[in-house]
């Protein structure tokens, strides 16, 4: 099978506290997944589940404690400078479009800077043409864009500008860390539809990191649900979200408010103690909140088990279908 990005047994340990009371937190714990070409892969979970740390390690902002990240398919082939070769193939967009851009610089300069850094155009005319082309791909025109400051755009427009900037190098993989959570609900779909379009038209792969399962369902092909550093369920999005096996996925799925007054939440939920406690749990990290938890769940960490093409990390599911 051809893969674009492979993440193998990735682990990141953070130490908290002083030397006398040090707590070691495994923010990302033995995480493995892959992304295929022309595929949208969603990494979903609540805040503090380690999804952003994973993205930061893939982008090289953070050194993994152990594990490997393998990326194939940079366009220029193997180059002298690993970093340049890598960033040409992998580009990122971030959560807060207002924080992405310096408010005192006009947005054009980011584009020309990227073009300069990668040597993408021979002269100014070509550069403008390239920018125009990428802006059109995200549904903006050069005239309404050039010479303006970030404050003159709406959040949705800025997020599209930041995607256009990422597309300048013709990347094969786009890492999108919560790209729609700061964008207004009514404009959210325009960003998500854009990912779909880019995937279908130019074969771009997207690692879509989000806590919004509804858009994840809408846009992605495969999904991994993360909880406290572990991937608890992974597989095709139709199977994972329409027929969730892991109790945590079920809880997440039920907790999404549906825009239908007939489907109000009936049951009540209990919220977690503190995040620390769950990270430091010996067995299954979800045991404290799970209604089916047994003694074994509290002491022994569950193994990854495949049911057809869905990975589930849960003692109960393993027992049900041996």
């Amino acid at each position: 099978m051809e893969t674009l990005l492979e993440v193998n047994h990735l682990t990141k340990v953070f130490s908290l506290g002083s030397i006398f009371s040090r707590v070691r937190i495994r923010a990302v714990d033995n995480v493995s997944f892959y992304v295929k070409p022309a595929e949208i892969f969603a990494l979903a979970g609540e805040s503090g589940c380690g999804k952003t740390t994973t993205a930061r390690m893939i982008l090289g902002f953070e050194e993994p404690t152990s594990g490997a990240i393998v990326h194939r398919g940079g366009q220029g082939g193997e180059s002298e400078n690993k970093k340049v070769w890598f960033t040409e193939g992998v580009q990122a967009i971030f959560q807060d479009p207002f924080g992405t851009f310096n408010p005192l610089r006009i947005v054009d300069r980011y584009f020309f800077e990227t073009i300069g850094n990668f040597g993408l155009a021979a002269n100014g005319k070509e550069a403008v043409k390239l920018i125009e082309e990428k802006l059109n791909a995200v549904g903006l025109s050069y005239d309404e864009f050039s010479g303006k400051y970030p404050s003159e755009f709406s959040g949705g427009q800025l997020q599209r500008i930041s995607i256009a900037r990422a597309l300048l190098t013709d990347p094969t993989l786009l890492i999108a860390d919560e790209p729609v959570s700061m964008v207004d609900a009514s404009l959210r779909m325009s960003i998500v539809n854009l990912f779909k379009k880019l995937k279908e038209e130019s074969g771009l792969s997207v690692l879509y990191i989000t806590h919004d399962l509804a858009t994840a369902y809408y846009v992605s092909d495969r999904i991994a649900i993360m909880f406290r550093g572990n991937i608890v369920e992974m597989g095709p999005v139709e199977r994972v979200l329409m027929d969730p096996q892991h109790p945590y996925t079920r809880l997440l799925r039920e907790s999404i408010p549906e825009a239908d007054p007939k489907k109000r939440w009936g049951s009540r939920i209990t919220l977690s103690d503190t995040e620390h406690e769950e990270y430091l749990r010996a067995g299954c990290k979800f045991a404290g909140r799970c209604s089916d938890a047994t003694e074994m769940c509290k002491t022994e960490s569950p193994k990854d088990v495949y049911f057809d093409d869905v990975l589930v990390k849960c003692h109960q599911c393993t027992r049900k279908y041996p």
Binding site: E46, S255, A259
Partner: protein
């Protein structure tokens, strides 16, 4: 029908800014008429920058420059009479606050004083509104209320940074409900929270409403949350109310094109067909388009839309829409 507790009449609240000698007027709330009734959850939805928060500020009479009340009135209809809020003195307003109407502002997770334990915040609160309570009595009231609302009592002895975001949000809602106000106004209470925590907060809001049998005015742009908790929903666009109906009607039969976009653009499970978001971008409140402010983005735009703002058409006692497409044709 329940009695009205809060009513506005042609409410206009503008931000008047003086930029290098030229005056700029941001028409954040423009001719809003709403009636909020006893014992209901009234939801206000709309995209960011449509004036939701400004409307709330006007409702709780927290108008401070550069925001100015240009016209219209806000009435509190409690204690058997109608009170015009703008006629009250600062002291009278202070008394009404928290006892008649209380306000949970946006980002209220950060309102708790970081160097005070939660119980000290409670005591501060009780001492400034209820006289003649000793320190122990204040702690006792705080403890009783926390337990009644289903939160663990031990949080009173913690500092805010020790609590999770969801717990802090629930503490601020509990604080707002402390003096059993008739109206609690919440501004985006679940926006920065995860889905599971969001569900916990909505659950708590419902509990509070049942327990006090009062009114909650809930502002959020998340239509899913609105569907889950609100009894009636008002949709705002560019400072104006454009549609108002019971939750069932708004989601079942939205009439304003903007409302239709808002609801139809939401992704649903089990349905992967392409969903369209509202075209274009929200208008600037400084320079509003003529006529109906939605007309540059509206796919069904008529000639009259560009010239004249439509008035409200009442279709049922509980459903009104401001759109030229409805009623006339």
């Amino acid at each position: 029908m329940n009695e009205t507790v809060l009513r506005t009449e042609g409410l206009k609240a503008f931000y008047v800014l003086d930029v290098f000698g030229t005056q700029k007027v941001v028409k954040a709330v423009n001719e809003v008429n709403i009636e909020i009734r006893e014992n209901e959850v009234y939801g206000i939805a709309g995209e960011s920058g449509c004036g939701k928060t400004t409307l709330l500020k006007a409702l709780v009479a927290a108008i401070e420059p550069p925001l100015r009340l240009i016209g219209g009135k806000v009435y509190y209809c409690g204690y058997g009479k109608e009170i015009d809020v703008s006629s009250l003195s600062a002291e009278e307003k202070r008394r009404l606050r928290w006892e008649y109407i209380s306000y949970v502002p946006q980002g209220s997770m950060s309102v708790l004083n970081p160097v005070m334990k939660v119980k000290e915040t409670y005591r501060d609160f009780i001492e400034s509104h209820v006289s003649g309570k000793t320190r122990e009595e204040a702690y006792e009231i705080a403890g009783r209320q926390i337990v009644e609302l289903g939160l663990p009592r031990k949080i009173l002895d913690t500092y805010p940074h020790q609590l999770s975001g969801g717990m802090r949000q629930r503490v601020t809602i509990a604080l707002a409900a402390l003096l059993r106000p008739r109206i609690i106004v919440c501004d985006e209470p679940t926006t920065a929270l995860d889905v599971v925590v969001q569900r916990g907060v909505v659950q708590m809001l419902r509990d509070v409403q049942k327990y006090l049998e009062n009114t909650i005015v809930l502002v959020t742009h998340d239509m899913g949350v609105q569907a889950n908790i609100a009894d009636r929903v008002g949709i705002m666009y560019a400072g104006k109310m454009v549609e108002e109906a019971t939750t069932e009607r708004i989601f079942g039969r939205p009439l304003h094109p903007y409302t239709q976009y808002l609801i139809n653009s939401l992704p649903r499970f089990g349905d992967k067909t392409t969903r369209e978001s509202v075209p274009g971008s929200p208008p600037s409140l400084i320079d509003l388009p003529s006529g109906c402010p939605f007309h540059p983005r509206c796919p069904y735009v008529l000639d009259i839309c560009t010239k004249q703002m439509p008035g409200f058409v009442r279709l049922e006692p509980n459903h009104r829409v401001a759109c030229w497409l409805v009623g006339e044709g």
